[in-house]
Amino acid sequence: MIRSVETVVNGAGPVLAIGGLVKRYSRGAVPAVAGVDLEVEAGEIMAVVGESGCGKSTLLRLIAGLETPDVGGIRIGGRVVAEGRGWVAPERRGVGMVFQDFALFPHMTVLGNIVFGLQALRRSERKGRAEEILDLVALSGYGDRYPHQLSGGQQQRVALARALASEPKLLLLDEPFSNLDTALKTSLREEIREILQRTGTTTLLVVHDAEDVMALADRAAVMRAGRIVQQGDPDTLYRKPKDEYVARFLGETNVLPARACPGGFLTVLGHVPCAAAETSAGSVRVCLRPEHLQLVAGADRGEPAVVERVHAAGMRRRVVVRLESGSSPGETLVVHAGPEPPLAPGDRVRILPRPDCAHVIGIG
Amino acid sequence: MAPLRQVVPVLIGVLAAGLVGCTADSAEQASDTDAQSSGDPGVVNVYSHRHYDTDQELFRRFTEQTGIEVNVVTASADELITRLENEGADSPADVLITVDAGRLHRAKDRGLLQPIESEVLDGSIPAHLRDRDGEWFGLTQRARIIAYHLDRVQSDELSTYEALAEPQWDDRVLIRSSSNVYNQSLLASLITHLGADVAESWAAGIVENMAREPSGGDTDQIMAVAAGAGDVAVVNTYYLARLAASEDPEEQRVAEQIGAFFPNQEDRGTHVNVSGAGVTRSSQNTENAIRLLEFLAGEEAQRLFAEANHEYPVRPGVAWSDVLTSWGEFEADELDLTRLGELNGAAVQIADRAGWR
């Protein structure tokens, strides 16, 4: 056995620290993880997002110890678990993990699934601890059921309970909501956030849905092609994305070519007032979220456009419009509008950008 | 569902039980070997190609009379020879028994047997039925005869093996594969008497006259004659004798239609092969091995060979079975059987070249 390299660093540092992590699956292949640096502070919920195949799941598996990195190091709770030739087996890393398909042991009861990970406790204490954690996820009384007798949401909560039972230093969630339906998802997200906060669990989750990030994460990192493009709190990522990829990943957006001018940008929507434009020069691309545009009445303001489609979603409507004039007729934009006035395809409207919302995401 | 923690010990237990069960029989024999020095009559270990019930009975009687345990592995002679060769000096075998002289010669040729001097054996077995160096001894004889259909063939049409290659027998001859040692010995005897060239053209003639591609055993050839697939078949005596002595009326009816013809009575005699035995070079129980051979060449054993398995005893003066007696005395080819062994390889190659499968 290779002896694990254990460097104990006192208390305060990040719970998870990753430096220069590289992983290729085969010689000569494009690396799945191509140099990632990441830190997660104690009690923090960190989300990693990105398109499928961007390496985010590999990153998670590297942290869990299910893969060995080619280059770089990982420290969990101050202990080096992977660096150079040193490597700690997954069972000795003290992490908890919830798998995308939950990976509940089909031949064990709910209680059996939870107790399985409680080897560190005395035999007499295991059951009590398992019931306590089941209570936490609101599944008391389900201990004797088998996984296939539970609904998807219940399975999800068992998977979470199982991972939390041993009070891991770090909890890893791999696409935790991808197997659930939308209605369940929203309520479960809240529930899980509450549980994680109540237990103060440091969490790293991998998702591909911006809504999960917004609802759950304290901080997020956007990955693309094995690298982290941008990280920060979700609101900053949403409002100030570094590039179009990040912008689109965090939510629907309109991207317009623009030219910096005093007090704003010149775009197909005319002059978009923006104080931040001072720092830019020449041709750029700006991102304007749907809520950054408004439909206005009257013929004196905004660009004329024709309504193409209206998606009603309660109090908020998503309206797709086609610009009538301007430098590039035919361009469609997405605008969020309130419930009034009534709109139908073919209606003529005018689009007005809100001031100080445009954000530069690139040159040209 | 039972947790595997509980299942695995069970499996291991079963496995252990299985191995113990498999070895139980042989463990007794191993301890016998140890006991030999202390006056115990000990054991004799036999590798045998003979797998007749008669042999089991004979070994039982031998143990009864001498107290010597007989341990047996049966397999084909060639497999046993390979096993002997690989085991070398470690081989536990004391006696090798085969069903033809060719294999005994092969064993001798490879230094697996040792010369034995026994007045009992020399006195019981005619010289041409044992190795000239005393490395192996014939125990029973089988004649390779022509079985013919009594209605379709007159016995005066038959004369010699050689004649079966004549055109008049076109599409009428039944004979099994040349992989069979009895056919190899027959061919070897023809090589000795007539030379390789004649033997090869004879083989080609036989192939030409075959009523069908060789298949099945000697009994199948006899059945095929009865069924009309051919008119004559070359078979060993005891197969036909068994049918004649069968308790199954259908088999008796087959035998009733078949005549036994001993070829070459006018010249060298009918081809005869032996089933025989030798003492291995590695033998640890040489005395016991010789006693077993002497027992098998003795009156009692020879009579049982003859009665139960319709083989011709090698020991002069022992009564034949009723069926064999009814066929009468015959002139046997007294060719030195060692020659058959020496020519076995040549015979196989000739058969192959002649297209005799």
């Binding site: 290729r24 042991f105 890893l172 | 069960g21 498999c22 099945g216 069924a227 196989v348």
Partner: protein, 546 residues
């Protein structure tokens, strides 16, 4: 950043579970020694028989082998695949019966079927007796039916070997393809179009794997072809060894055979190609076509015929002989033989599957090509005739035994160690393929979850993987059990003194041309194997229902 790719054909030492990998490599090395003996033998200067066989006989041997493989293989594909389709996709009388009964011919060794048919159709056999009794004027007639020929051998092989194709294809159609086939039906295609355009391509991996097993069995057979006088490649091996006394040439021919089988296996792997056949879909059978009238009758006959020819008729004949033998004096010592056979087969099967689990699990743990291909090496034993493996085993075991005073005699003649070792070498493929497919079906996530939850590899194996593999393991033990029960040449050569099994007893009597006397032992072999198949089946069905 300079990026180094670490992953090579060696396992990554950091994540290595050294104990497992070492254990697996040692086991594979041990199992490979007999195969190495064969492989090395191929490069020794050939004996004099080589030239003779190569020029005089090989062309015919190869032709016959090819004909036999093609005909029996096609038959097994048609019968096995067709029956699998009928019992999974159509509703007709006795469907549920045929669903399991069609597996039964697996219990009948090809050589026993061959002997039995020859006896059944001979002049003294029951078929002719019946004709003599029934047909007017035939009472005194003997008929010659030319039974012992290559066409009949091909049919016999097809009828006793098709269950390999049937089993695999049935499992695939039942477990994986329900939705796909239903989708095809909803697209408006008829049953024939679906059969040829969807079901056959879908079932291709199962058909191919089944065919590979059938072909290996055919290449390995000696008993049936030798008795029927059909010369095949295996005939050549034994002709070189037995008739010409040239073991080196026999080994060289075996090595060629081994290469051919390797090619067959490679071809099977290759044709699977990039397509994945993981068990990802829901395991739900498709709804069945109801068959009526002549269609139902046709299906009934199509399923009944192979069962009749491959199982019912041989068993009936053997039973008749057994009755006759028992009446005229009985069969002493059969119980002891049955005990020998049973314990030997069970012990070898459990050992074989246990080793397969160690090798398979090590490959699963370290995922390196080295360990994986080491496992593949252990598959080769299935391709070599048992008698030739026996020589390799003999050489290997004796070499080990000679290290200790008296060890050689102890291992080979004193105990069944050499014999059991031989079985494990010979049938490791059966265990290993089953275990591998089982691991694939379980998938990697449960094991990963277990590891993350703090369970080391050993605990993960015992508490997670093995319980989930239970069915696979039981099935693997059963298959090896049946194989060992039927095995002949290896047993003949490697057994200790005074040690007979049902199979060796049956064979010796049959080869002494006493077919009827051999029937009780043969019947016990087939009966035991059939019983095990039946019990296994009902156990699985019960589990599936709960």
């Amino acid at each position: 950043m300079e990026v180094i790719a670490r992953r090579t054909w060696l396992p990554d030492v950091r994540s290595l579970s050294l104990g497992w990998t070492l254990a697996a490599l040692v086991l594979v090395a041990l199992l490979s020694i007999p195969l190495m003996v064969v492989a090395v033998g191929a490069f020794r200067p050939a004996g004099e028989a080589w030239g003779h066989i190569a020029t005089t006989l090989l062309p015919e041997y190869l032709r016959h082998t090819a004909v036999l493989a093609a005909a029996s293989g096609a038959l097994a594909l048609i019968v096995g695949g067709g029956c699998a389709w009928l019992v999974t996709m159509c509703d007709f009388p006795l469907r549920t019966f045929f669903r399991w009964a069609l597996v039964l011919p697996l219990a009948v060794p090809a050589y026993m079927a061959a002997y039995t048919y020859a006896g059944m159709l001979s002049v003294t056999g029951p078929a002719q007796r019946l004709v003599r009794q029934v047909v007017p004027g035939a009472a005194d007639q003997f008929f010659y039916w030319h039974v012992m020929r290559i066409e009949v051998v091909a049919v016999i092989f097809g009828m006793v070997l098709y269950p390999y194709v049937f089993l695999l294809t049935r499992a695939l159609l039942e477990q994986r393809s329900g939705r796909v086939l239903e989708a095809a039906r909803l697209m408006g295609r008829g049953p024939w179009a679906i059969f040829f355009r969807v079901a056959i391509p879908l079932a291709r991996p199962a058909l191919a794997a089944g065919l590979a097993l059938v072909l290996m069995e055919i290449l390995n057979d000696y008993g049936a072809v030798a008795y029927y006088g059909v010369t095949t490649f295996t005939t050549g091996i034994f002709r070189a060894w037995f008739s010409l006394g040239d073991l080196d040439t026999a080994i060289r021919l075996s090595a060629i055979l081994m290469t051919v089988v390797l090619l067959v296996l490679g071809l099977e792997r290759w044709q699977r190609g990039a397509a994945r056949y993981d068990d990802s879909g829901a395991a739900q059978p498709a709804s069945r076509y109801p068959l009526r009238g002549s269609a139902a009758a046709g299906a009934l006959v199509f399923c009944a015929l192979p069962l009749l020819l491959g199982f019912v008729l041989p068993v009936a004949q053997l039973s008749a002989w057994t009755v006759r033998v028992v009446r005229t004096g009985g069969v002493p010592g059969l119980l002891g033989l049955a005990r020998n056979s049973f314990l030997l087969a069970l012990g070898a099967a459990v050992l074989c599957v246990t080793i397969a689990v160690v090798i398979g699990y090590a490959a699963r743990l370290d995922r390196s090509p080295l360990t994986r291909s080491a496992g593949k090496l252990a598959l080769l034993g299935y391709s070599i005739p048992g008698a030739v493996i026996a020589v390799g085993v003999l050489v290997a075991v004796l070499a080990v035994g000679r290290l200790v005073e008296g060890g050689a005699a102890f291992l080979v003649t004193g105990t069944a160690v050499a014999l059991v070792f031989g079985y494990v070498v010979r049938f490791m493929a059966v265990g290993l393929l089953a275990v591998e497919s089982g691991f694939t079906r379980v998938g990697p996530n449960l094991a990963a979850a277990s590891r993350v939850m703090g369970a080391a590899p050993l605990r993960t194996l015992f508490q997670i993987e093995l319980p989930l593999l239970r069915r696979t393991l039981i099935a693997a033990v059963t298959l090896v059990f049946i194989d060992v029960l039927k095995e002949l040449p290896l047993t003949l050569i490697l057994r200790p003194f005074n040690f007979d099994t049902l199979a060796t007893r049956a064979f010796q009597l049959a080869s002494d041309e006493q077919l009827a006397q051999s029937a009780p032992a043969a019947l016990l072999v087939i009966g035991t194997a059939a019983l095990v198949v039946g019990v296994l089946h009902s156990a699985f069905e019960q589990e599936a229902r709960t």
